[in-house]
């Protein structure tokens, strides 16, 4: 909303610097910036007169002009425009004028002819886009005068009006706020209304079908008007606040809207069948063409203004083409009505039509004072601008007047909420300046009548706010604070922070992915959760909530792969969402960790050949992660998902809490990845429930370990973990670890169905140094068992 300072001065004296005014309004809740409306013509552009012209001897399209620009000498200027004419007044940029920040006009010779300035076209001065010729000015423009004088700029305030303040969408509203700030009185333009001629009731009639939707409908008629362009002062004011002048009637209605904030409508009376006004809801599917040349299909939610036959306007939104006021209009019906905010809001949403009128009606217009003033003011203004006579009397349908509310402000509550002590006089002055009427007052409380143009104010707390925002900078900042001791201390966030540090430490990048994904991506989710649909999605690629962490991470993988990023190691902690109709919200949320890598195992090094970080890389990290947090877990191969080379369920306490796997390479063929894609997802919220941070320490070993290596040849089909478990179980009481450190396959040497695995066994006692002989025994027994059980032989 733009308000003009010049216009505001009609209602209030402004005697503080405008920057300060803007700052103070901002502090008081009307966030605004001071701007200048209009074009700033560069200094050095003057009105000049072309005294004579002659063609350039050496250039067909150029003209050499003698120009008087009031500088005391006659200037010689070369001009390229076809429309330059002797005797005409033109804008002339003198030598030294800065036409652009980096362009200063100089005296030059153009093909031998001296040019001491420039005759300007519209676009060169920022006044328009026309470059077809120079500007030709009216003859009453004064030669030598700064051209800028004919293009005044107006200081304006660009105000951001919050959703609760319809009253602020007007010069009146802002003027009242200024009144609180400066203490100057707010004053309205006195109404002078001269009724003449016929009585309005003899001309037209108004009927309202639904007074709940239209509690008040008030009308006046002005006859015998002459519709023509508005006078310059009115055009300027409208332009300054960003409105395009149309004609004196439409402009007058807009003027009163911007003045009072009350939306009005004008109809060409002769084009109203009857002529009469009927207000009713649309029938389903009814069609209507609005002023913006759109044919609209309506529902029963749209309130219509109709004449005796057809609709003529969407109530509170926009008029129709048929009854529009134009240059042939002679008689005018002025509508000043109050529509129920929710009715206008519904229609505006349904028709996707937001207008100056609808913005005010849906927030709540004033059914009383402003409605009446605006109606009469518009009638008077039309009579003044377009001639014509105001018909006697008015039509005013208002079966149940909306009363002003009352509220009482206890001064103690101002202190209790804001922390400042304000005197009764101070509160009283503030509220009065804002238009509240003081009904009763003493030094403890104020009883006020709330003006109906403030629908946002109802309760005592609202009055506290009115007082508080106007003393915002006086509220002290408490320097000694007492705090309530929290009832609990969250441990989940630190748990998550630990996880973040863990994976970052392993060289992974934390990501933040979109929670919204496409239905087909969600269907690929590794948990198989039914996805929760968005009813009003931004696009089909974002029409459900993610059902796992992996699909969005695959999106990030794709972006990185397309940009040829080599090593990609990503993780994220966030919610995945499972549709659950039995839940209050319709959804069950799981806070999960997702990990996705397609990376080398370590960076390119001079000491090692490059290797891929494959499934076993992530499995190793999982092992560390679980051990670190004291969880015992099992992996169980999951063969349900064909996209995976290997996929395992991660089980803790026999419950599924995660999955880990490696995708089949062919799935990513198009991305030309260097490394396999491995993933892991963990339900960290569940892990947190079981997590016990206090671990007791184990004393470091007091006696040395004995290591024994063992290379065994066995069937390729024998799973390594079966063998490891067997070794750990059968290795005797001193065996504390079994590390698989080599896998060897050589079909010629070992046989096609054989593999060799090497284990390093660590033996230790916490009571003594072990002797080789003790271990030799264990080893030979162990080996026999493996030989019998698994057909293993020593390599």
């Amino acid at each position: 909303m733009i308000v003009s300072i010049d216009w505001l001065r009609d209602y209030i004296d402004i005697d503080i610097p405008l920057e300060e005014l803007a700052d103070k309004l901002t502090i008081s809740g009307a966030e605004c910036t001071l701007k200048y409306s209009g074009v700033r013509i560069p200094e050095g552009v003057r009105v000049g007169k072309v005294l004579e012209t002659r063609p350039h001897s050496d250039a067909e399209k150029l003209t050499v002009c003698k120009v008087d620009a009031g500088t005391g000498e006659i200037l010689n200027i070369v001009c390229g425009a076809p429309n330059v004419k002797e005797g005409r007044r033109v804008p002339v940029a003198l030598v030294g004028t800065k036409l652009a920040p980096d362009f200063e006009l100089k005296e030059v010779r153009l093909r031998g002819e001296l040019s001491q300035g420039m005759i300007c076209a519209e676009d060169e001065l920022g006044l328009g886009n026309d470059h077809s010729g120079i500007m030709l000015l009216p003859d009453d423009y004064e030669i030598g005068r700064a051209f800028a004088d004919y293009y005044p700029v107006y200081p304006v305030l660009d105000v951001e009006v919050t959703a609760n303040r319809p009253d602020l969408m007007s010069h009146w509203g802002v003027a009242r706020m200024i009144s609180v700030i400066t203490g100057k009185p707010f004053k309205k333009i006195p109404l002078v209304l001269e009724e003449k001629g016929k009585d309005i009731h003899g001309i037209t009639r108004v009927s309202i079908e639904d007074p709940l939707a239209c509690p008040r409908y008030s009308a006046r008629i002005v006859t015998n008007v002459r519709v023509q362009p508005s006078p310059a002062w009115l055009q300027r004011r409208l332009e300054a606040v960003g409105l395009r002048p149309v004609n004196n009637v439409v402009d007058a209605a807009n003027y009163v809207l911007m003045e009072t904030g009350h939306p009005l409508h004008t109809f060409d009376l002769n084009r109203l069948a009857g002529p009469e006004i009927r207000v009713r809801f649309a029938r389903k599917g009814e069609k209507f063409e609005t002023l913006d040349h759109k044919e609209r299909i309506l529902s029963e939610n749209v309130l219509l203004i109709c004449d005796a036959k057809t609709p003529v306007a969407l109530a509170g939104l926009m008029g129709g083409l048929e009854s529009e006021v134009d240059e042939n209009t002679r008689n005018i019906l002025i509508e000043s009505a109050y529509f129920t905010p929710s009715v206008i809001r519904k229609a505006s949403k349904e028709q996707q039509l937001s207008t100056d009128a609808s913005k005010r009606f849906e927030r709540g217009a004033d059914p009383n004072e402003r409605l009446e003033y605006a109606r009469d003011r518009l009638a008077a203004l039309i009579a003044e601008l377009a001639g014509g006579e105001i018909a006697r009397g008015l039509i005013d349908f208002y079966p149940e007047p909306i009363p002003a509310k009352r509220a009482t402000l206890e001064l103690e509550n101002v202190r209790r909420i804001t922390g400042i002590e304000l005197s009764a006089a101070n509160c009283r002055a503030t509220l009065q300046a804002l238009g509240f009427e003081i009904l009763n007052a003493n030094d403890k409380r104020l009883e006020v009548r709330i003006p109906t143009f403030r629908p946002d104010v109802e309760r005592e707390i609202d009055l506290v706010e009115e007082v508080a925002v106007n003393h915002m900078d006086k509220i002290p900042s408490m320097q000694r604070m007492s705090i309530s001791v929290p009832a609990s201390f969250d441990a989940f966030h630190p748990f998550l922070t630990g996880i973040r540090q863990f994976f970052t430490g392993y060289g992974m990048h934390e990501t933040v992915n979109n929670s919204l994904i496409g239905e087909s991506a969600a269907a690929a989710g590794i948990w198989g959760y039914p996805p929760l649909k968005i009813l009003n999605p931004l696009s089909q690629e974002m029409n459900v909530l993610r059902t796992d962490m992996i699909q969005p991470l695959l999106g990030s993988l794709r972006i990185n792969a397309l940009r040829k990023r080599g090593d990609i190691r990503l993780y994220e902690l966030a919610n995945v969402i499972e549709k659950d109709p039995s839940a209050e919200t319709g959804a069950r949320e799981h806070h999960n960790l997702g990990v996705l890598c397609s990376s080398s195992l370590w960076g390119l090094n001079w000491n090692e050949p490059e290797k891929s970080a494959d499934y076993f890389y992530l499995k190793g990290i999982l092992e560390h992660f679980m051990e670190d947090r004291g969880f015992v877990y099992k992996l169980r191969e999951n063969t349900q998902n064909a996209a995976f080379e290997i996929l395992c369920d991660i089980l803790v306490r026999k419950e599924l809490i995660g999955r880990i796997g490696q995708y089949r390479d062919e799935i990513f063929e198009k991305l030309q990845l260097q490394h396999p894609v491995v993933i892991m997802e963990l339900q960290v919220e569940k892990l947190f429930e079981w997590y016990k941070p206090q671990k007791q320490y184990t004393p470091p070993p007091a006696y040395p370990s004995i290591f024994r290596d063992m290379s065994l040849v066995m069937d390729k089909k024998t799973p390594a973990n079966v063998l490891i478990n067997e070794i750990l179980q059968q290795g005797g009481k001193y065996l504390i670890d079994c590390l698989l450190y080599d896998l060897y396959i050589d079909d010629k040497k070992l046989g096609e169905d054989k593999k060799a695995l090497s284990f390093r066994l660590e033996f230790r006692s916490d009571k003594k140094t072990l002797k080789d002989s003790q271990i030799d025994d264990v080893m030979s027994k162990l080996f026999k068992r493996l030989e019998n059980q698994y057909g293993a032989r020593l390599r």
Partner: protein
């Protein structure tokens, strides 16, 4: 041959072992001591020289020497498990081995930094779901049905009658519904807005909500807390400005500006020459919100605030396209 000889040999071995730098040298050492013709074998051969009554003792001594040496060699060989390059490296100007470097996302880092400060100020952390019901997201927060204030927040609706929370404020009423006053919490999380994705806006962003309800809490407490937070987060010289605003769930409401941390308030493109940056909304909790959770609004009062992480972070990092925060280009991520 006596105990001293064995001790001497042990010492020599340990010294030699220390000097071993590669597998080949270790093999040689092993061969020298434990080989068929090695020192230990030699000692066993000389056991005949020992008087018979102490042969058993000497035998045990030699056995334990053998066990210890072979254990020491085994242990040492572990350190050479990865074979060294053939060439001995003498050029120590060679670069260090390349390690993978990880990084934290700037958004979660900023959230952690802020939560950390609020925890020091005695706030507990609370959580709420991302899929909300209308009552928590709007109605309990004093957004009447069909009110224009709802237009301030373009909402995603989900099947089953839910909404994606448009702010972290529903955590306020969720928490108060299950906790008696006093409450003092901060709630971090994702929030969603149904806005076309562009350089300036994304369909989700992060907020931190704060709430303090107790007896005798005033706007002055709010000012004090926020000022302290800003000094701890933005630096002690930061200036703070409160200006009136409107949120349905607070009354009075205010927006908070801090002096621009890039130009110090002189004016620059980031603060659009104003010298100020808008960082959060706040206010005194509206009595209607307290009533919705059955708190006695005559007895209790308190404040709430909410700050958006993305906007603040974009200003601080000089990001002019919000989408880069959600693309996860590793070349972006690794900078943090």
């Amino acid at each position: 041959m006596n105990k001293a000889t064995v001790t001497e040999i042990r010492k020599q071995f340990e010294k030699a072992l220390e000097e071993v730098r590669d597998t080949a040298a270790l093999e040689a050492l092993k061969h020298g001591y434990l080989g068929r013709k090695g020192i230990i074998a030699g000692l066993f051969a000389r056991i005949r020289e020992v008087p018979p009554e102490s042969r058993k003792e000497t035998g045990e001594l030699l056995n334990s020497l053998k066990t210890d040496l072979s254990a020491a060699i085994d242990a040492r060989s572990m350190q050479f498990a990865v074979p060294r390059k053939q060439k001995e490296i003498t050029d120590f100007s060679m670069p260090g081995y390349a390690m993978h470097h990880g990084s934290r996302h700037p958004l979660t880092q900023a959230v952690d930094d802020m939560l950390n400060i609020f925890q020091h100020l005695g706030f507990d952390i609370a959580y709420g779901p991302e899929v909300e019901i209308d009552w928590y997201n709007f109605e309990s927060l004093n957004f009447p049905p069909d009110h224009p204030a709802r237009d301030m927040q373009d909402t995603f609706y989900t099947e089953g009658g839910g909404v994606l929370r448009t702010h972290t404020s529903p955590v306020q009423t969720r928490y108060m519904s299950t906790h008696k006053p006093p409450v003092r919490i901060v709630a971090p999380g994702r929030v969603f807005r149904n806005e076309a994705i562009s350089a300036r806006s994304y369909c989700l962003f992060h907020q931190i909500e704060g709430l303090y309800i107790d007896e005798g809490i005033t706007f002055a407490d709010l000012k004090g807390t926020i000022e302290l937070f800003c000094r701890l987060y933005y630096g002690k010289d930061v200036r703070i400005k409160f200006r009136g605003s409107y949120f349905p769930f607070t009354e009075p409401s205010a927006e908070i500006d801090v002096s621009c941390f890039l130009c110090g308030g002189k004016g620059c493109p980031v603060c659009k020459q104003s010298g100020w940056l808008e960082i959060m909304g706040c206010g005194m909790v509206d009595p209607n919100v307290l009533k919705a959770v059955n708190y006695d609004s005559e007895r209790y009062s308190g404040y709430a605030f909410g700050l958006g992480i993305e906007r603040m972070l974009m200003m601080r990092l000089g990001i002019n396209d919000i989408r880069i925060l959600f693309e996860n280009d590793v070349e972006f991520l690794k900078q943090f």
